[in-house]
Amino acid sequence: MADIVVNLEKCNGCGMCARSCPYQAIEMVDKKAVWIEDRCTLCGACLEACKFDAISGDIPSREVPLFPDHRDVWVFVEQHDGVFHRSAFELIGCARTLAADLGQQVVAAVLGDGVRDKTATLIHHGADRCVVVDHSALAYYQTCTYAHVISELISKHKPNILLIAATHLGRDLAPRVARRMGLGLTADCTRLSIDPDEKILLQTRPAFGGNIMATIVSRYSRPQTSTVRPGIMRALEPDEARTGEVVVEDVNMAECREFTKVLECVMNPDKGIDLGAAKIIVAGGRPMCSERGVSVLKDFAEAVGGQVACTRVVVEEGFLPVEHQVGQTGLTVRPEIYFACGISGAIQHKAGMDGSRYIVAINKDADAPIIEIADFAIVGDVFEILPALTKAVKEQ
């Protein structure tokens, strides 16, 4: 394989190449660029970044195809028993911004049984058009059946962008469709935007357990497809005056082979908690791991009309059920106010709450990482602060 060569006379140690390399295959040593072969994928970013022609190498060139026929931003609308998943509205909200930047339309793809009369709300939330496939085989999600229908719609309508929620269902479906249709796919994106020059989708997502963020593009296939983490994008306020077109499509189901048979589906009993929709969240960490701790949290949550949440530690110690866990392996939330009570602010916890509008941190350690991301920091003992807050709120 080819080598990257640094001309040490031309290299002035500016470090642009090292910063441009997505794979950290260039490091600055004694003010000179050093190539680390093991990490290099010959992507060529360093050659482009160097303003002094100090880097050379044989970068395999690859032509970027044009896709003049692919238009519009599509959203796959997830539904269960004919009820649209909250993520569908979030994705439509996000798609509106992308479509506006491209001068294209937002299209909601709805698959289900008896869903054709339910599309108005999707249009109120920002869709320009709904493409509906209504069929009894689509009543309950099954991978191959849904993948078949989505693939048929992609072939026929040629979307430019396709967004699918990064739910269990979406992450089961999207890779199947992407492999079938030859599409680049970016998982679990938390930020999407359009590159102003190239007009392609910039797909940003956490990697390495949230330690770094990566921006990924899909230049070689259409639609540019992403799964998008639920709870991050904002749904628009519904506008009942909005109108749009509804197209009902027939897809040939005879061509589709479904291998699996669903024997039984068991829904969890409704625990009466919906952190995703909460406006105020009162979350506790390790020091709240006691009966007293949990009741101090609950008292305050009740006083402010909020919901109780927690870190993984509290779940592991058995003081709250897993439905209350916020973070990378729990829920992503973005309430108006997030009270972090005795929470250190580990990266895996922050991943689930740093999009909150206001963060209030109560911690006895002034250097805890949570303080840095808080709008209001209270350095002190939660067992003194929270009861005082509860009392003051009740008395106001």
């Binding site: 090292a18 997505p22 950290q24 994928t41 970013a45 395999p60 690859r62 739910t167 269990h168 089961d172 890779p175 199947r176 992407a178 492999r179 680049g184 796919l185 970016t186 998982a187 390495f208 357990g209 949230g210 330690n211 770094i212 963020m213 990566a214 921006t215 990924i216 899909s218 230049r219 070689y220 296939s221 291998f259 699996t260 048979k261 024997l263 068991v266 829904m267 969890n268 006083a303 402010v304 108006e336 106010i337 922050k350 206001y358 840095e372 991301i373 808080a374 209001f376 920091a377 209270i378 002190g380 003194e384 602060i385 005082a388 807050l389 009392k391 003051a392 709120v393 009740k394 106001q396």
Partner: protein, 265 residues
């Protein structure tokens, strides 16, 4: 029953640190491990083998040092290991990775059950399982926490967001598993000695062994590309509230009142 387990070598992300000056990942000294969920995938395969008899083959795509995860898998009880290693595989996205793994499985040909982890901790994509299943044209069962594999049918319990489903699929089938499925066994010392000896059954395949052109794998064969990496920066303008608990409480209530948010109703 022929069972193939897909295992990936990953950096131990709970040890990953960032260089505060450059914002780059510090890789030196970070241990490489079997992707945690892949150990559960292997345990599932070994316990099926113990019940219905069969053979367990582990397949990993990675640099030469990924041989370590194959040895560890053999030390846990796998019968055979195949390392897919070639400079040409480097920089692969999930499209190119699933092409490589899929072609290797085609060469193995004789498989009834393929088990993968749900996701790898370095990329967290959870895409490889379904993409390999589609490449091979076999059904997929993802997010599995309970698995009952019989000769020609597999019954699984899949975790849904707000419940679970019991689902049946004919073999050959690909399953991706969650950590809750089982408690993985440890590699034994004798197993480790056997795995690293010349008697152990390990093969290394390169691009030509699986019959793929170099432009179809690795970075050149990928459909997505990383254009930028950066450290998440989320610092806010922090206002410190000080004083007695009662005074802090009234400062906070006032601060939100100014922002037109009333605490409590």
């Amino acid at each position: 029953m022929n069972i193939v387990v897909l295992v990936k070598q990953v950096p131990n992300t709970s040890e990953v640190r960032l260089d505060p000056k450059t914002g780059n990942l510090i890789r030196e000294g970070v241990e490489s491990i079997i992707n945690p969920e892949d150990r559960h995938a292997l345990e599932a395969a070994l316990s099926v083998k113990e019940r219905v008899d069969g053979k367990v083959t582990v397949v990993s795509m990675g640099p030469p040092q990924a041989i370590d995860v194959i040895c560890e898998a053999i030390a846990m009880g796998a019968d055979k290991g195949i390392l897919l290693s070639d400079r040409a595989f480097a920089g692969a996205d999930t499209w190119a990775t699933s092409t490589t793994l899929g072609l290797a499985l085609r060469r193995i040909a004789d498989y009834d059950l393929i088990i993968a982890g749900r996701q790898a901790v370095d990329g967290d994509t959870a895409q490889i399982g379904p993409q390999v299943a589609e490449f091979l044209g076999v059904p997929q069962l993802t997010y599995v926490r309970h698995l009952d594999a019989r000769e020609d049918v597999v019954i699984a319990e899949r975790v849904l967001e707000d419940g679970c489903e019991h689902i049946e699929a004919p073999t050959p089938v690909l399953v991706t598993v969650l950590a809750e499925l089982n408690e993985p066994r440890f590699p034994t010392v004798e197993g480790m000695i056997h795995a690293t000896s010349k008697h152990s059954n390990i093969e290394v395949w390169n691009a030509s062994d699986i019959g793929v052109k170099v432009q179809d794998v690795g970075l050149p064969g990928s459909l997505t590309h990383v254009v930028r990496t950066f450290t998440p920066k989320e610092a806010r303008d922090t206002q410190h509230l000080e004083g007695s608990p009662a005074s802090i409480a009234s400062q906070l209530i006032d601060a939100f009142r100014q922002r037109e948010i009333r605490l409590g109703d």
